[in-house]
Amino acid sequence: MHKGSAASAPKKFLVHLTMAIIFILLFAFSSWLLWLTYFRDASQSEEALAKRAVSRQEMVYEPFHGAGDSVLEGGKSQSWCLKCHKDYSHSKSKEVRGILNAHSFFMACEVCHIVPKEGERFEYKWLGRSSNLPMTELKGKPGDYGGSIVPFRAEKGFAKRLDENAPANLLLDEAVTANLLPDESGKKGSTGDLQALRDRLNTEIHKDLSSKPVFCDKCHKENGMLDFAQLLYSPERAQRLEFGDGATIIKQYKEFYLPSLHDARRNQ
């Protein structure tokens, strides 16, 4: 008799399993039916609709001239800064914000926003967008080689990214938990301790930033800040970056391009 029941054990288990699975399915289906009957209307109230519509407020016009998804997703300079500043972060100086955003598509923010101190020299490398590893050649077309230029600072014999900031990371985690990051409108009403945390975070994150970022003509000139040849550009392309293309326009730009973004933030 014991033998018989032992032989049917796997079969019994299978029956239990089937019955359990069916039970779960039926339970899920019944729950959905109840939700449909009693709670679905709430998801279609005016408030709920408005809430869904708000996210549509931030509209992306389908580009008229053809762009492709990678562009619509926005600039990805692989910088820590993007945790808050998002894509297309330059918005202040009307005339140049577009061209600056074109640069942040393939350059980490700190390339321009952290100026090397006297005698200090950063090492600039292309890092692949998906791999995050140094690139060995440039494939693709100008402005989109699938990676970003990232500066490194030599520290105790190691190359360290400028946006690696442990205390800021800790503070940011704290801020995320407290739901303190700026919302879509860029404003967040907060008081007391939260405001203090926010201030500390702001100071910590922005402490290395230079009040005057690197100007266009610091790189787009002969023997500028960036060694284009060392940055894997072909000799012809490097030549163009130094003398051609932008270089002539830049002279025009210089008259009115006086970024004051971070000055303003300091003074607040």
Partner: protein
């Protein structure tokens, strides 16, 4: 020069006070393959000689461009359509709304897409294209012309896309309130909407009823149902419903019996306006909203009672059976 950089772009606040992401990148290959691929920048964009473009004017789609319209030999222009739009429910002249600021313009619906045919269409057209090349030497021209015709002849916007497009504004309670319109939230509960969600391409989308090409209307001439000529006017609804391929046997009662996609929000509001108004149609709408609400409420109560009672009884039974088996030692 600058516009070949993919990152070129910015966020800005547009005239409708929306945060808009503007992509200024021009993908040359995609642009050349698009409807406007033959045009140069300055054909549409005026005042862009200076860099940075501080004098750039807004593109006017109604201007004449340098293309010759082959049937008349005249200079081509979208002017007629722009004028149509002006007089339509969406236009400055045709809109009944006092609020003319956020009426849609060309760009709200149209992006200049590359000519794209489905896989089968493409295979077929590519073979057929060889026929064109027999006479028309200029290959690029023939290809362009051919793509234009075959593309325009096929369904250009799938139903799901039409619904999504119209919903950009018509599902937004803020915008609709400004124009005293009902949001289209009720549409998603209709059979038509579900069929569209499942991918049916033949079922009616917004335009098939509100501006059916089949009956000689056009989206650019879309009008309010209060317009006597509108396909959604009570007098014309039967004809609209009974278009070929749709409800061909539709009676007048079928077509005009009640609102097709009243939103739950509006139905709830009608319920609150319980008082009789002088308007018969409105009284009927209120009555209908109430009846449907009562049915729903009836079943909500019945389901709660039956399922609560039955469920409770079963659980109790389970408990009792368990108690018995313990007592009985089985």
């Amino acid at each position: 020069m600058c516009h070949k950089y993919p990152g070129l772009g910015r966020y800005e606040i547009d005239t409708k006070k929306r945060v808009v992401k503007r992509v200024f990148y021009v993908n040359e290959g995609l642009h050349k393959a698009s409807y406007h691929g033959k045009l140069n920048c300055s054909d549409c964009h005026e005042g862009v000689d200076k860099i940075p473009h501080t004098d750039a004017k807004k593109v006017d789609c109604g201007k004449s461009c340098h293309v010759i319209e082959p049937s008349t030999g005249k200079v081509f222009s979208h002017k007629a359509i722009v004028e149509d739009l002006k007089k339509s429910a969406h236009g400055v002249e045709g809109s009944r709304s006092k609020n003319k600021d956020d009426l849609p313009g060309c760009r709200d619906c149209h992006a200049n897409k590359p000519y794209q045919l489905g896989f089968h269409g493409q295979a077929k057209s590519m073979a057929f294209l060889q026929v064109c090349h027999q006479c028309h030497e200029e290959q690029a021209w023939a290809e362009r012309f051919f793509r234009h015709v075959t593309y325009r002849a096929s369904i250009r916007r799938p139903s799901a896309e039409v619904v999504k497009l119209c919903s950009k504004c018509h599902a937004n309670p803020g915008i609709m309130a400004r124009h005293k319109l009902d949001v289209i939230a009720g549409f998603q509960d209709t059979y038509h909407a579900k069929a569209i969600q499942y991918g049916d391409v033949e079922v009616a989308n917004c335009l098939n009823c509100h501006a059916p090409y089949a009956l000689g209307f056009s989206p650019h001439r879309i009008t309010s149902k209060q317009n006597k000529k509108s396909p959604t006017n009570a007098d014309n609804k039967r004809a609209t419903c009974s278009q070929s391929g749709c409800h061909v046997e539709a009676t007048k009662e079928f077509a005009t019996g009640s609102k097709v996609h009243i939103s739950p929000v509006k139905a709830a509001r009608l319920m609150e306006e319980a008082e009789e108004s002088a308007d018969d149609a409105r009284n009927r709408e209120i009555f209908q909203a109430k009846v449907l609400h009562w049915i729903k409420l009836f079943y909500q109560i019945l389901i709660a009672a039956v399922i609560g009672g039955l469920g409770g009884h079963r659980l109790l039974d389970l408990y009792a059976t368990h108690r018995d088996s313990k007592k009985g030692g089985r």
